[in-house]
């Protein structure tokens, strides 16, 4: 049976669909190629959080229809009655901002200062951005936005290696291989922020945070190049080192690692095993591999995976713990006649601030992480990499409605050159763009030699939003073109706005344009962007904006990253969700924490999606997952366990902790006393039901931990 709220909902939904999702590019479903998509690409046909979807002002909806603060309703230009403005309570706005930036709740003093003078938020934000909590949060945000997560399968394909062996390389590095590949560019971006360099250097930098294993891998890719079809190209290592034969040894005198890695040594590339070979393993330790197989065996041995002809033993430890630490390394292209760094020059790499390569690496879109996350092939021909680079760099994906006639029609793939083909709309723009990548790399990710340049267009072109095409060659020119485009600042304002609100802000909002302009005017200082954004009514919802009219005032479930971060910090338990594998509990219990935390939806990106997928409503499984995480925390650290953080005798302090830290409601907040009273009553009632004091403490904590304030973005 439909009621008044439902009729208003249906009408407003239809209206929003006619306007198009957030006014962004309308997807042309028939085009059959890349489309302009945004966070509401499914048509926004469901109950969202815009004011038109609430029961504000509706009749028959109960006794709380309308907000006590509503009063800005009026007529729109169309003559329709405007929905009243429903601001976010100031205390909630402050908590939302500080939690987003640090994972911590406001202190009582911070809240009092903000309530007395909201302008103080700017200086508060500046202060929070100087904390280590913000640094960690920034790393997390960059990790989400720069799309550097790589899987075993993808990395194996990028290396042209067997996934099981790459898994072995990762396992024998205790997971650090994949983890540091994923983290490297976040650290690089943070360096740019910390040094107050223009943030668009994420597109143009050639100085990356790398560790020795990654340097080895980049150098190895140069040593084992492949062409567009994946076939081997000549290897400079095999040409320069005719004694390159790889083997493992166990009999005779142990071979020092210095000899193994020294091309002048008789024991060059002879690896002494770390332990006695298993009796079941094939006993052919004196065999050697040569040629390309030797290159592959050498790489695997550097990560402790012996050649398959030896079988089930472990190679020697090459990398120390210090080698896994990230530090700034500049990647330079070798000059004419100059040899690049050999992948086995590990001792030299330890002290080097520069790595000489044959391939050019610049910006986030040429890293190990990005390149292997977005693999290409001789059918796709770097189009996917180019499009994803565009998405991350300037928040655009290819839309058939983009108007751009390439300067040279011959740059379009002949298979799609016919304007009558369904794919022409995208390919006329995408093909000239992907040529930047083709100039630098084969489809296998290796440096493209001159011998494979003849069939390529000499010039690539970059243009979005109808801008004047920028021509160039190679990835360096592409990075510069994106960095210099007017779209850069708005794109990053939009990205952050989406993360803060867990839903997209209206890209046409003048306030968002102001924030982007302030970012650009500050020489693209990232902290300026953050400050301007989070102190803006786009986030605090203390004034009406176009974004408010479009999306309302979103109060949404926290995403996995924010829930885990805030709980880790507020409870004082490192990596409480065990997403980094750092939770100090028995392995089985750690797996349970992680499995449950994965029931809380993360921020995720899909291929060709400009905006992230974020959950917009609590659902049965995410709520259940949080409840169970809270239960495990309670059982492990509250009460009478082995190493409790809180015991029942600490009742008053524990209650203060639950209200102020766990729920993020500072002392002095108008809600604090009432909430504390309820938790205290719960404690007593639990005891009254026969619970032990420890269980009463646990149950009270679980109530606080799973409450709406503890699990929302803005309560």
């Amino acid at each position: 049976m439909r009621t008044e709220p439902l009729r208003r909902l249906a009408r407003s939904t239809a209206r929003r669909c006619l306007l198009g999702p957030l006014g962004g590019a309308i997807a042309l479903l028939g085009a059959g190629c890349y489309q302009g998509v945004d966070g509401k690409a499914d048509g926004g046909d469901g109950p969202g959080t815009s004011p038109s979807d609430t029961d504000a002002g509706s009749s028959g909806a109960g006794d709380d229809a309308g907000s006590d603060d509503a009063g800005e309703g009026g007529s729109s230009d169309t003559g329709e009655a405007e929905l009243p403005f429903d601001p976010l309570p100031a205390a909630s706005a402050l908590a939302k901002v500080k939690d987003f930036l640090t994972g911590l709740p406001p202190t009582a003093d911070e809240q009092a200062a903000y309530l007395a003078d909201p302008m103080v938020l700017r200086s508060q934000v500046d202060g929070w951005m100087q904390t280590r909590e913000f640094e960690a949060r920034a790393h997390e945000i960059f990790s989400q936005l720069f799309q550097q997560q790589v899987s075993i399968d993808n990395l194996a394909e990028y290396l042209d290696d067997n996934p099981n062996r790459v898994k072995g390389m990762n396992d024998r590095s205790d997971g650090r291989l994949l983890a540091t590949i994923a983290d490297a560019f976040s650290a690089t971006a943070w360096n740019i922020v910390a040094e107050s360099r223009p943030f668009h250097e994420v597109l143009t930098t050639r100085t990356f945070m790398l560790n020795v294993p990654q340097m080895v891998m980049l150098a190895w890719l140069d040593a084992a190049p492949r062409d567009d079809a994946g076939d081997d190209l000549p290897s400079w290592v095999l040409q320069d080192y005719d004694n390159f034969e790889v083997g493992v040894r166990w009999t005779g005198n142990p071979i020092p690692l210095g000899q193994t890695l020294n091309p002048d040594s008789a024991n060059f590339m002879k690896f002494w095993l770390d332990e006695a070979p298993d009796a079941d393993c094939v006993d052919d330790l004196n065999k050697v591999s040569t040629g390309r197989a030797a290159l592959r065996d050498a790489l695997e041995l550097l990560f402790r995976v012996p050649p398959s002809n030896v079988g089930c033993v472990t190679g020697p430890i090459i990398f120390t713990d210090a080698d896994w630490a990230l530090r700034p390394v500049t990647l330079r292209v070798a000059g004419e006649g100059e040899d690049p760094t050999a992948f086995f020059a590990v001792p030299d790499m330890r002290d080097a601030t520069e790595l000489v390569l044959r391939s050019d690496r610049v910006g986030f879109f040429t890293t190990l992480g990005f390149s292997s996350a977005w693999l290409t092939n001789d059918s796709n021909q770097h189009r996917v990499t180019a499009n994803q680079a565009l998405i991350v760099g300037v928040g655009r994906t290819f839309d058939p409605e983009n108007v751009f006639a390439p300067a040279d029609g011959a740059t379009i793939d002949q298979g799609h050159a016919d304007p009558d083909t369904p794919c022409y709309g995208c390919h006329k723009d995408l093909d000239p763009l992907r040529d930047f990548l083709r100039h630098s790399y084969t489809y296998s990710g290796s440096r493209r030699p001159d011998s494979l340049m003849a069939d390529l267009p000499g010039t690539a072109y970059f243009s979005i939003d109808g801008s004047e095409p920028v021509s160039g060659t190679g990835v360096g020119d592409l990075g510069a073109a994106m960095a210099g485009h007017a779209r850069f600042a708005p794109a990053w304002a939009e990205k952050l706005c989406t993360l803060v609100n867990s839903t997209a802000c209206d890209p046409d909002d003048p306030e968002l344009e102001r924030v982007a302009a302030a970012f650009a005017d500050a020489n693209f200082d990232f902290r300026t962007l953050v400050r301007e954004l989070v102190t803006s009514p786009l986030v605090t919802f203390d004034a009406r904006t176009l974004t408010y009219d479009t999306i309302g005032n979103p109060v949404l479930p926290v995403t996995q990253d924010r829930f885990c971060r805030r709980m880790s910090l507020r409870l004082g338990i490192t990596d409480v969700c065990n997403l980094q594998g750092a939770l100090e509990v028995p392995v089985a219990l750690g797996r349970r924490f992680r499995a449950l935390a994965e029931g809380v939806p993360p921020v995720s990106y899909g291929r060709t999606a400009v905006l992230p997928f974020v959950t917009t409503a609590p659902d049965v499984f995410s709520v259940a997952s949080i409840e169970r995480v809270c239960q495990l925390v309670a059982e492990e650290w509250y009460g009478d366990g082995d190493a409790p953080l809180w015991i029942a005798d600490d009742r008053e302090a524990a209650l203060d902790h639950m209200v102020g830290s766990v729920m993020g409601i500072p002392a002095g907040d108008t809600r604090a006393a009432g909430v504390r009273g309820l938790l205290s009553a719960h404690w007593d009632a639990a005891v009254g039901q026969g619970a032990t004091p420890a269980d009463a403490l646990r149950s009270t904590f679980m109530t606080a931990c799973a409450s709406a304030p503890a699990t929302s973005t803005a309560l």
């Binding site: 429903d86 994946g230 059918s379 949404l556 797996r591 029931g599 709520v623 059982e635 009632a685 109530t703």
Partner: protein, 434 residues
């Protein structure tokens, strides 16, 4: 001050409601509105024959797997390439009374499942990764752009009596519901949620719920509408959590990863517990095999994929659910059938095969192939006979929409409902059992 327990008991007695009712009181919104604000589907609950209503386990991937390349209909044209692996060699296959030829591995499915299997040749009309959601929206032919899993779930929920309407992707499948993307719910997470533990803290759950309800009443007075709405949703979800039954320990306890076998166990568990009408899994059938020399990866994954379907069928039968659950496979696009001069297969928007296995499914091979440039495309279909027919009443362009209608019919949705929810196409009656 009134004792909270007595107050709660009093209200329960007055209203006969659980936490949902408390949430309604806390927020001032009707419980019915809290529960299903867009429950237009419930108006149709009398129209679904309970005897025909089916749960759906849907396998779908954005990788563009070459599922279409080794099914009935692809072995009568010599120019269509198959891997040399014996599992991919053409062999006789019986689908009920229909004799056909397909990759030999298909014959490893239980015969009772093959006797209720239909392979439908059509096109998804896209060849872009990441567009599975668009395909499930029938590329604009679904009402209000809803995806067919969501449409089916909304209509089936009441008849099946599930706790939740929302489809659950236990595999990495991009699904949306009411316009929002659904997060993956991994099998390992489900194991933790649904396998009981003996903690004494469970005895205090009602007390915690009461405290949270009281807390929401307090917070409501300090909050704006959006915050109240969040608390409504939170209360709603908590109420659903309390209805999560335990009773699938046998299916979940052995889960220790999130691979296809675990997804299958999790999917069957969710259905056994009547948690949702629709579950999505992700079974690989060759993946994005552009550079698959000798189609070796395709052969390996295809055999494994068919093996997983067999595993699912056997598990459903063991749980007594084989007549209540329909399985379907829909991927984002198919792949080229003929050699294109590359090592593997390329994206191909013009041919895809949907597979359905279920009680209401007629064993059949629907549609076929017609030459199209350097490859083959899906042919028009005669909806009554299921034959490929140039003059068929389901033209090429309506094949995908017809898949939506046909699958919906196989799940028990009546024609009138399907005509509202799917804007074009026809039910392929030849694919349905009487």
């Amino acid at each position: 001050m009134t004792n909270p327990m007595n107050r709660r008991s009093m209200l329960r007695n007055m209203l006969g409601v659980s936490s949902l009712g408390m949430a309604s009181l806390a927020t001032g919104l009707p419980a019915a509105f809290l529960r299903q604000p867009l429950a237009h589907a419930e108006d149709d609950e009398d129209a679904i024959d309970p005897e025909r209503a089916q749960y759906l386990i849907l396998s779908g991937r954005d990788n563009g797997d070459p599922f279409n390349a080794n099914v009935p209909g692809t072995y009568d044209k010599p120019s269509i390439i198959h891997a040399a692996d014996p599992a991919m060699a053409g062999a006789a296959l019986s689908l009920g009374a229909v004799s056909t030829t397909a990759a030999s591995v298909w014959s490893t499915l239980p015969q009772w499942a093959l006797d209720r299997t239909s392979f439908i040749h059509h096109a998804t009309k896209t060849q872009v990764h990441g567009q599975l959601v668009k395909v499930l929206q029938l590329l604009g032919d679904s009402y209000r752009g809803e995806t067919i899993p969501s449409i089916f779930a909304k209509h089936l929920r009441s008849t099946l009596g599930t706790v939740s309407t929302t489809p659950v992707p236990v595999g990495a499948v991009n699904l949306s519901f009411d316009g929002r993307t659904l997060p993956q719910l991994k099998p390992t997470t489900l194991r933790e949620l649904l396998v009981a533990d003996d903690s004494p803290l469970h005895d205090l759950q009602d007390l915690r719920d009461q405290t949270l309800d009281d807390m929401h009443v307090l917070l409501r007075d300090h909050g704006n509408l959006a915050q109240r709405r969040f608390m409504n949703d939170h209360a709603n979800a908590r109420a659903d959590v309390r209805e999560l039954a335990e009773g699938a320990t046998d299916l979940l306890a052995g889960i220790d990863d999130d691979q296809p076998s675990a997804q299958i166990s999790a999917a069957v568990a969710l259905i056994k517990l009547k948690l949702t009408p629709v579950v999505a899994i992700a079974l690989p059938f060759g993946s994005d095999n552009h550079a698959d020399a000798g189609l070796a990866k395709e052969a390996a994954e295809y055999a494994s994929g068919v093996g997983h379907i067999a595993e699912l069928m056997n598990l459903l039968e063991a749980q007594g659910l084989q007549d209540q659950v329909t399985f379907a496979s829909i991927n984002v696009f198919g792949r080229t059938l003929k050699s294109q001069g590359t090592k593997g297969r390329n994206h191909w928007s013009k041919h895809h095969v949907t597979m359905m296995i279920g009680k209401n499914v007629n064993p059949s091979v629907i549609g076929g192939l017609v030459a199209d440039g350097d490859d083959y495309a899906a042919s028009p279909i005669d909806s009554m006979t299921g034959m490929a027919s140039d003059g068929g009443d389901i033209p090429y362009d309506e094949g995908l929409a017809s898949i939506g209608k046909t699958l919906g019919a196989a799940l028990g949705l009546p024609d009138a409902t399907l005509d509202v929810e799917v804007l074009r196409g026809k039910v392929i009656t030849a694919a349905l059992a009487v």
